[in-house]
C-alpha cells in the first residue's frame, strides 16, 4: 500500500471512461468545457456572517455571468478532505480553476494537486505562493482588509463618547495585528484621545468566549466594538444587546445591529474572481499573485448604519477617497505600545515590511503573549 491508492472518485471516473470507450469513445469529458467552471472550497458554512460568506457572496455574483458555472463545497476540514473535495471538482465537475479559501489547504494539499493536474489552475486565499517552490498553475490572492479597518477606525473615532474602542481578536498573527493597528490609526487620525483595547480569544471560532470578551470590553468602558474572528455574528449581536456601537468584519453584519452598526470592513472577492473568470474565458494566463486594497477595488466598507453620525460618514468617505488615491496609512515615526520605535518612516500601504507586523502600536491596550 505505498503509492497504489485509487480514490473512489478516480475509480468511478475510470470506470465510466471505460464504459464510454466501449460505446463510441465519444462521450469522454472534454478538457475544457464551453464556459468556465469555478470550484470553490470553504472551511465553514457559507452563511456564517463572516469569512466564508464573503467568498460565497462573490461566487453568487459570479454565477450571474453568462458561461460561468460555479461548484461549491462547504465545511471542508483542512485535511485530506480538502484534497478529495478539490479532486472531485476537477474530475467530476470539470473545474478549470479551483479556489481554496482556508489557510491550511495550501500545503500539502493544493501544492500536490497542482502538480497532479497541471492543466487546472489552483488559487489560494493567502499570500503563500512562492515562485521558487510552487508550480506555475498554483497561486495566491488576498485583499488588504486593514485599509477597510482603517476606515472603520475613522468612523469609530468620531462615534465614541468614552474614547475607548474595543477589539475582539482571535490570534496575534500579522494580518490580525495589522487590522488592529490600522483601526487605531484611523481612530487616532480624527480623535487623538482614542485608545483601542484588545482581547485575544485564542482561536478563530469560540462563540462563548467571544461573547465573554465583548461583555468584558463593554464593562471596561468601551462603547464601540469591532472584531477579527471567523464569524463576527456573536460579537456584533452581544454588543448590540448591551447598547454598544459596532464595526463589522469580513462580510456585512449590518442586519444584526439595526441600532448600533457604524460600518464594517469587507472583502470584495468579486473583483478577483471576475478577473479570473474573464481571463480563463479568453484563454489568457492567470497571475500567480493577485492582491490589492481600495485602489484596486478589492476591499470595501459596509454601507453606514444607524450608529454612524454625519460627521463620521463624511470623514470615512473622505478616507476612502484618500485610500483610492494610495495615501499611506502608516505615517512614521510610530512607536509600539512598549515604547519601541517600530515604524521609523512612512510606508506605502503595500510595503512588504508591513506584512511582517508583530507589534501593537502605542494607543492599543493589549499584548501579544
Amino acid at each position: 500500500m505505498t503509492d497504489f491508492r485509487v480514490s473512489r472518485r478516480h475509480f468511478l471516473h475510470g470506470a465510466s471512461a471505460l464504459g464510454a470507450v466501449g460505446l463510441l469513445g465519444a462521450t469522454s469529458r472534454p478538457a475544457l468545457a464551453a464556459g468556465v467552471t469555478i470550484g470553490i472550497v470553504y472551511v465553514g458554512p457559507r452563511d456564517d456572517f463572516g469569512w466564508n460568506q464573503a467568498h460565497a457572496v462573490a461566487i453568487k455574483a459570479l454565477k450571474s455571468l453568462p458561461g460561468v458555472k460555479a461548484v461549491e463545497e462547504e465545511n471542508v476540514a483542512e485535511t485530506d478532505a480538502c484534497a478529495k473535495a478539490m479532486e472531485s471538482m476537477v474530475n467530476l465537475d470539470g473545474a478549470n480553476i479551483v479556489l481554496g479559501t482556508s489557510f491550511g489547504y495550501f500545503t500539502p494539499f493544493m501544492a500536490d494537486l497542482a502538480k497532479k493536474y497541471p492543466k487546472v489552475e489552483f488559487r489560494h486565499a493567502a499570500p503563500l505562493w512562492d515562485a521558487t517552490k510552487h508550480p506555475k498553475n498554483l497561486g495566491s490572492y488576498f485583499g488588504y482588509l486593514n485599509q477597510a479597518h482603517y476606515v472603520d477606525g475613522i468612523a469609530a473615532g468620531l462615534s465614541t463618547k468614552s474614547n475607548k474602542l474595543g477589539f475582539v481578536a482571535a490570534k496575534p498573527i500579522s494580518s490580525v495585528l495589522s487590522n488592529i493597528n490600522s483601526f487605531l490609526l484611523g481612530a487616532r487620525k480624527v480623535n487623538p484621545n482614542a485608545t483601542v483595547q484588545v482581547i485575544f480569544t485564542g482561536d478563530w471560532s469560540l462563540p462563548v468566549r467571544e461573547a465573554e470578551a465583548t461583555n468584558a470590553l463593554i464593562d471596561a468602558g468601551c462603547d464601540v466594538i469591532t472584531c477579527h474572528v471567523d464569524g463576527p455574528k456573536v460579537v456584533i449581536e452581544t454588543a448590540e444587546k448591551r447598547g454598544a456601537k459596532t464595526c463589522g468584519h469580513n462580510a456585512s453584519q449590518a442586519p444584526l445591529a439595526p441600532k448600533g452598526f457604524i460600518t464594517g470592513a469587507e472583502y470584495k472577492w468579486e473583483t478577483i474572481y471576475k478577473s479570473y473568470a474573464e481571463k480563463l474565458a479568453k484563454g489568457e494566463p492567470l497571475p500567480n499573485m493577485l492582491s490589492g486594497g481600495y485602489d484596486s477595488d478589492m476591499v470595501m466598507n459596509t454601507a453606514f448604519g444607524a450608529g454612524a453620525s454625519d460627521e463620521a460618514r463624511k470623514a470615512a468617505t473622505a478616507a476612502i477617497a484618500d485610500l483610492k488615491a494610495k495615501k499611506p496609512i502608516y505615517v512614521g515615526p510610530l512607536k509600539d505600545n512598549t515604547g519601541k520605535l517600530v515604524i521609523e518612516k512612512t510606508y506605502d500601504n503595500y510595503d512588504p515590511y508591513l506584512d511582517q507586523m508583530n507589534y501593537l502600536l502605542e494607543g492599543v491596550v493589549g499584548s501579544l503573549t
Binding site: G44, V198, I199, A211, D230
Partner: protein, 306 residues
C-alpha cells in the same frame, strides 16, 4: 492592582458564572443521572449541539422560545433513548456507542441546522436582579436566566430524590450493583434506559440555553466542546448533583478570567488565563482524588471503573 481593577475582575467572575455555567450544569446533571444508573453517555456533546439547533429552529418557526426549549429537551431525550436502548444489547460498549452518538448528534444538527444560521429567532429573556445597583456592570452581570434557577432546582430535586425516594434508590442500586437490583426484581435495563433518556432531555435543554440565550445564536461552532467538558465535570463533582452545580458555576467563573483580565489591562499571558478553568479542574481533581471518600462515590457498575 488597584481596587477598581479587582472590582472589575470580581464582577466579571460573577457575570461569567451566571452567564456561562448553565449549559455545563444541565449537561453535567444529565450525565450525573445517567452515570448514577451505571452507564456512561459520552454522546452528550452531540445532544447539546442538536438541542441548540432544535431550540433555535422551533423558536424561529413557532415564535415561542420556550417551545424551543421543550423541543430541545425532547430531541435530547430521543438521542438518549437510542443510547439507552442500544447499550442494553449484548456486547455493546456504552463508551464506544456514546462516541458514535456524539458524531450522530452533531451531524444531524449541522445537516438540519443549515437553514437556521442566517435567520433570527425569538430569544429567551433574562430576569434582571441588578436593578438595585447604579453600576451598569453589576446590572449587566446580574442578568440571570430562569433556566439557571431551573437547573439549580433540578439539582436539589435530584440530590433529595437520590437519598430519599424509591426511584432514587433504584437508580443508585442499578448503578452500584446490578445483581442486587435484579435480585430485587428490578429491570436494570429499564432503569438505565429511562435514566439515559432523562439525562439526554436535560442536556438538550442545556443546548437550548446556548442558542436562545447566551451566546444566543445558532452556528456550527457554538458548543466548541462544552458537552465533553461537562461530562468530565461529573467525575470532578464525584457524582453529586449539588457538586455538579458548584463545578459548573466555578467553571463559568474561571472561564471569564481570561477576557476580564485583558479588559482591565493585564494583557500578558492570556493563553494561560484562558486555560484557567482546565488548570483549576486538574488541581482540584488531583487534590480530591487522594481522599478516602473519593473512591466510594464512584458508581460500581460504570464500565470505566470496572
Amino acid at each position: 492592582m488597584s481596587e477598581g481593577l479587582v472590582q472589575t475582575v470580581l464582577i466579571a467572575l460573577l457575570g461569567g458564572a451566571l452567564r456561562v455555567s448553565t449549559p455545563f450544569m444541565f449537561v453535567a446533571l444529565g450525565e450525573c443521572l445517567t452515570e448514577k444508573s451505571g452507564r456512561v453517555n459520552l454522546g452528550l456533546e452531540g445532544t447539546l449541539v442538536l438541542g441548540a439547533m432544535t431550540a433555535y429552529a422551533i423558536s424561529f418557526h413557532s415564535g415561542s422560545p420556550w417551545l424551543g426549549v421543550l423541543a430541545a429537551g425532547c430531541a435530547g431525550a430521543a438521542l438518549g433513548a437510542i443510547h439507552g436502548f442500544v447499550c442494553k444489547l449484548p456486547r455493546v460498549n456504552d463508551i464506544a456507542f456514546g462516541i458514535a452518538m456524539m458524531l450522530l448528534g452533531t451531524g444531524l444538527a449541522f445537516f438540519f441546522g443549515k437553514a437556521y444560521i442566517q435567520p433570527s429567532a425569538p430569544r429567551l429573556d433574562a430576569i434582571s436582579l441588578g436593578g438595585w445597583s447604579s453600576d451598569p456592570r453589576i446590572a449587566s452581570a446580574l442578568q440571570v436566566h430562569p433556566l439557571l434557577l431551573v437547573g439549580i432546582l433540578v439539582a436539589l430535586a435530584m440530590w433529595w430524590a437520590f437519598a430519599n425516594t424509591r426511584w432514587g434508590l433504584l437508580v443508585r442500586m442499578s448503578g452500584d450493583s446490578a445483581q442486587s437490583a435484579r435480585a430485587m426484581g428490578v429491570s436494570v435495563d429499564l432503569v438505565r434506559f429511562l435514566a439515559t433518556a432523562a439525562g439526554g432531555f436535560l442536556a438538550g435543554i442545556g443546548g437550548a440555553f446556548l442558542s436562545l440565550y447566551y451566546p444566543g445564536s445558532w452556528n456550527q461552532g457554538l458548543s466548541s466542546g462544552q458537552g465533553l467538558m461537562a461530562v468530565a465535570l461529573v467525575i470532578f463533582a464525584r457524582w453529586n448533583p449539588l457538586r455538579c452545580v458548584a463545578a459548573a458555576l466555578l467553571f463559568g467563573a474561571t472561564g471569564a478570567i481570561g477576557p476580564a483580565l485583558q479588559s482591565v489591562g493585564i494583557t500578558q499571558g492570556y493563553y494561560f488565563f484562558n486555560a484557567a478553568p482546565y488548570i483549576l479542574t486538574l488541581v482540584i481533581m488531583i487534590g480530591s482524588a487522594g481522599s478516602q471518600k473519593a473512591g466510594r462515590d464512584v458508581p460500581g457498575e460504570l464500565s470505566i471503573t470496572k
